[in-house]
């Protein structure tokens, strides 16, 4: 049976390849997309993995030119005496001599954490002892500092032997688990109440679900610092002996940040369940509480779990919140940044990245292979017209009690951002001011952000939607692999894509780090999947027969695509554009590795000034950022209205 399956699979692949080869246009487009994906998604991620399995040693290379003709003589007269003194150098791991005809060198490799300058000075000092002996034979000495990379699992050994490192992994996982559990719990209550509770709650919940989409993802951490930080309103007014930095802060900030995501997903799940089964249970004498626990929750469980998985991924990849409000607690995503930024320890940063990816991959696999197809939706039959039932007080009041404090917290957070933006220094000098809005660096970063987000939003939909067309409609070999790699950029935490880009594009032939363009490429390829999804879902809605009709009328593949398909899926292009633009405006985690002076983005600038304690300015720029994003979306909406393109 297994052999049969494999043969059939091979047979299919062979057919696909044959079909593919007969179609040069398709081949060319697919090849271009594949190359782009390989270079800008697979290669950086692969580089991280390779880097994590290497260690680099500080090296000192000593070169000398000699007038002695025979190599053997050089060894006897110069090299051996040199090695003789150098082998006693402090921290030396190995010394290796190379050379031929006039130019020779000794490579000195020091211990991993050895200070290379000390190594250099020690080398010079050692040599000076035998200077007189070798000088007659040597024309010139040159020294060079360097690094030597060696394949090794030493970084992993370090990771597990150093509590400072492995604690970051433990913390990240604990944080993700706690945040996920809380978010799914709260999101379920919000969604359930919004869907089945009184109508007036619905609008408020929707707004709450959508606003954070255009706000920088760490805005709640910022607000929480204003509320419960060392100089926070509550801390000061109530003379609290503690502040919110650390675990309570990060967890609270994450719960509020990811609540909308969980809410939107779980609401969708509950909605798609329909009321049919609940009606049936009610008909079978079940009380409302019974229905909730015996029917609704079990049925929604796979969908809730799915939402939970996504929240888990977002939480573990979260950068801004731990950065701002994490206090002294270490987390993988942010510590990978610090390892690179302050220690230039890319190897350990790469190991951190691997441990960032592993949980994500495990979750992704669970999602793909266990949860897929286990989502219950109402099967068959039209949705019945049914009156919204009054919610039982036994459910309504407990849920309201759960939802209310969190809602107040959210409103309070938004309020604090406003108060902070218009106050000189909160709790120190509470006078009104507009000065926080007058930051020229802030304005400049906003303009950069606009350029950045706009450019990325032009690239991602074109590649994503074209790819979706090929994946959905065309017969190409190894489709799943192409799809998987395209989605990888999104599935992998931003920190990983950041570190990956630094490792991959820091050397020729693709030395791109430090340029504005690499930031844009990074953003575009990280968000490919949304355009891809938008394209496929649109294509699945369009009957293939429409394209077949075009071909039947004599249109070629290109004409069919450009004149029939493209107009039909233009809304997917626009949706991809809008989404990429929005997330580009508030991007943090990957681009923070790629920014250079002069190319600072608004979201990163906010993060930077907030870290330096200029909270008022951070609030003010946050508000400006939200306004700019909202205004851009408004403009788009107006354009779409006049051009009659469907956008939202």
């Amino acid at each position: 049976m297994r052999g049969f399956f494999r043969n059939r699979y091979l047979q299919n692949s062979a057919d696909d390849i044959r079909h593919f080869m007969r179609n040069p246009g398709l081949m060319a487009v697919t090849a271009v997309l594949l190359v782009l994906i390989l270079i800008f998604i697979v290669y950086p991620i692969g580089s991280v993995l390779i880097k994590s399995f290497s260690v680099s040693y500080p090296t000192v290379t000593l070169r000398y030119e000699t007038s002695v003709a025979a190599s053997a003589d050089v060894d006897r007269l110069v090299t051996h005496p040199l090695l003789g003194v150098l082998k006693n150098l402090q921290g030396l791991e190995s010394a290796r001599a190379t050379g031929k005809s006039g130019s020779f060198a000794i490579h000195l490799r020091f211990q991993r954490d050895w200070d290379d300058l000390k190594g250099l000075n020690d080398t010079k000092r050692s040599i000076s002892a035998i200077q007189g002996q070798v000088d007659p034979h040597v024309r010139k000495f040159t020294y060079r500092l360097g690094k030597e990379s060696v394949n090794s699992i030493a970084s992993y050994r370090d990771f597990f032997s150093n509590s400072y490192y492995y604690r970051a992994l433990r913390n990240s996982i604990v944080l993700a688990l706690v945040s996920t559990a809380l978010v799914t719990f709260f999101a379920f209550c919000f969604a359930y109440l919004g869907l089945k509770g009184p109508d007036f709650l619905k609008g408020a919940l929707r707004v709450m679900g959508l606003i954070p989409l255009i706000a920088p993802p760490f805005i709640f951490a910022l607000a929480l610092i204003l509320i419960g930080g060392r100089m926070g309103i509550f801390t000061k007014l109530l003379h609290l002996p503690f502040n919110i930095y650390g675990w309570p802060g990060v967890i609270t900030a994450q719960v509020i940040t990811f609540l909308p995501l969980g809410y939107l997903m779980i609401e969708n799940v509950l909605r798609s369940l329909g009321t049919n089964l609940e009606d049936a249970a009610s008909d079978m004498r079940a009380s409302d509480v019974d229905i909730l626990f015996k029917i609704t929750i079990p049925l929604a469980a796979p969908g809730i779990l799915k939402a939970g998985l996504l929240v888990f991924l977002m939480s573990i990849a979260d950068f801004g919140n731990p950065m701002l409000i994490g206090g002294g607690v270490s987390f993988l995503a942010t510590d990978a940044y610090f390892l690179w930024m302050s220690e230039n320890n890319l190897e350990m940063a790469a190991v951190f990245c691997v441990f960032l990816v592993l949980p994500s991959m495990i979750m992704f696999m669970i999602h793909e292979y266990i949860l897929k197809g286990r989502v219950y939706t109402t099967i068959g039959g039209k949705p019945q017209q049914s009156e919204k039932r009054r919610m039982s007080p036994k459910i309504f009041y407990p849920m309201l009690a759960i939802v209310t404090p969190l809602s107040i917290m959210i409103v309070l957070c938004f309020g604090m951002i406003f108060i902070g933006a218009f106050t000189k220094i909160l709790m120190v000098d509470n006078s009104f001011t507009l000065e926080h809005f007058q930051s020229s660096n802030g304005f400049y970063s906003l303009v950069t952000s606009l350029k950045f987000a706009f450019s990325a939003a032009l690239i991602a939909p074109i590649i994503g939607v074209t790819l979706s067309y090929i994946l959905v409609r065309k017969r190409i070999p190894f489709k799943r692999i192409l799809e998987f790699t395209a989605l990888l950029g999104f599935a992998v935490p931003g920190t990983v894509m950041g570190v990956g880009y630094i490792i991959a594009f820091n050397a020729p032939p693709l030395k791109l780090t430090g340029t504005f363009i690499i930031m844009i490429i990074n953003e575009a390829f990280r968000n490919l999947s949304v355009s891809l999804e938008a394209g496929s879902s649109k294509l699945h809605q369009i009957d293939v027969a429409i394209e077949e009709a075009a071909v039947d009328m004599g249109a070629g593949a290109f004409a069919t695509f450009s004149q029939v398909v493209l107009p039909l899926i233009s809304s997917a292009l626009v949706a991809g554009f809008v989404y990429t633009f929005m997330v580009g405006m508030i991007a943090v985690s990957a681009v923070i590795f790629l920014i250079t002076p002069g190319n600072n983005l608004a979201s990163l600038y906010i993060l930077a000034v907030a870290e330096e304690g200029f909270l008022g300015m951070a609030c003010a720029i946050s508000i400006m950022l939200i306004v700019v994003v909202a205004a851009s979306l408004g403009t788009l909406k107006v354009i779409s209205k006049y051009t009659k393109t469907e956008v939202f």
Binding site: D279, A280, D283, M284, I295, Y376, G380
Partner: protein, 370 residues
């Protein structure tokens, strides 16, 4: 009258002036009706006629704007679905996909806090009743459509409801299974003496299964009657059309006696039994004739009297197996005729001149003013 339905059986359910609007749409418009115990009554009508809304008002999922629902003497209008003595079989069965068949069937009893043993025995009995013994541990998606249907039925029966509500229960089954299942439902209803409201849009299904039909259109009841009554003596064009193919012959009353009257259509005189309502010469009436009630013979055949005979020409002859369906032009009129057992009767070719004999079963309707 309060406790007895039209035919003398005690009443199980009474609907009093039920009205329900959805926005501007009048879904159910002032319907009053009393159902006899132990009968299978079918609400039938085109989609949007209000039949499902009415059913869901009985089950409690929709609250009527006006009117009362009285079940076995008790006003249940404001009682929630889970406290009503009704049980419903849903159109798509609404089986709980995360529970086994046995747990599905036992769910209602479990909710009523019956002891585990009792639930188990009852589930076994019900599985046996719907011929699903041994499938209790399966999940619903592991069953065929027909089996799922039986589970839904068993689940509803588990509550021993005073009235069983079936909402288009057969519409998701294929044609053969549908016929089989409706026979089974009918047998079960007779055996257990169940009171059932059955909702369907399929007139054939409705006719074949019911004791009584309630034909609905646009939120009102058009006609209540046995299948025969509704088919043979429809109260208006809508009902006549809805329950089968039909020919309308509008004409004028030219003469009438004690038993019969003459209706002149085109050039032909139709001798028909007098209807129950008052008629006078000169009245415009409509003869309503089912296609199978018209005989068709060769134009050369001598038919004796001219009365009740029309001449025409075969326009289309369609062979459907059990019947031959002819579309015939007779003067200005298009007439549909079904001839059963066509191989035996002989088939008329298209274009052939024929005579139509309208002798049997002619029903008269007043011409409705537009």
């Amino acid at each position: 009258m309060r406790d007895m339905a039209d035919n003398g059986s005690p009443i199980i359910l009474e609907l009093q002036n039920i009205t329900k609007r959805f926005g501007d749409l009048m879904a159910v418009n002032n319907i009053s009706y009393a159902l006899a115990r132990g009968k299978l009554v079918t609400f039938v009508g085109p989609s949007g006629c209000g039949k499902t809304t009415l059913l869901r008002i009985v089950s409690g999922f929709i609250e009527p704007d006006e009117g009362r629902v009285i079940l076995d003497g008790e006003d249940i209008t404001r009682i929630r679905p889970n406290a009503r003595d009704t049980a419903m079989v849903f159109q798509n069965y609404a089986l709980f996909p995360h529970m086994t068949v046995a747990r599905n069937i036992g769910f209602g009893l479990q909710m009523m806090k019956k002891p585990k043993n009792e639930v188990k025995n009852e589930v076994e009995r019900l599985l046996d009743l719907v011929q699903l013994s041994g499938l209790g541990e399966r999940k619903p998606h592991e069953l065929s459509g027909g089996q799922q249907q039986r589970v839904a039925l068993a689940r509803a029966l588990s509550l021993h409801p005073k009235i069983l509500l079936l909402d288009e229960p057969l519409s998701n089954l294929d044609a053969n299974l549908r016929v089989m299942m409706r026979t089974e439902i009918r047998k079960l209803q007779r055996r257990l003496d169940l009171s059932i409201i059955f909702v369907t849009h399929d007139q054939e299904e409705a006719m074949s299964i019911s004791d009584l039909l309630v034909v609905m259109d646009q939120g009102v009841v058009k006609q209540v009657g046995s299948p025969t009554e509704v088919y043979e003596q429809p109260v208006d064009d809508f009902v006549a059309n809805f329950v089968g193919h039909i020919n309308f012959f509008p004409g004028e009353v030219t003469a009438f006696g004690r038993e019969e009257l003459i209706l002149k259509i085109d050039q032909v005189d139709l001798k028909v039994q007098r209807p129950a309502f008052e008629v006078a010469p000169g009245d415009r009436l409509k003869a309503v004739v089912r296609p199978e009630s018209i005989d068709i013979v060769d134009a050369q055949t001598s038919t004796g009297a001219d009365q009740n005979v029309m001449e025409g020409q075969i326009e289309v002859a369609m062979y459907i197996g059990s019947v031959m369906r002819y579309t015939i032009t007779a003067g200005d009129q298009t007439v549909y005729v079904d001839e059963s057992d066509p191989q035996y009767q002989g088939i008329f070719q298209e274009g052939k001149a024929v005579k139509l004999i309208l002798k049997k079963r002619i029903h008269l309707l007043k011409v409705q003013e537009a």
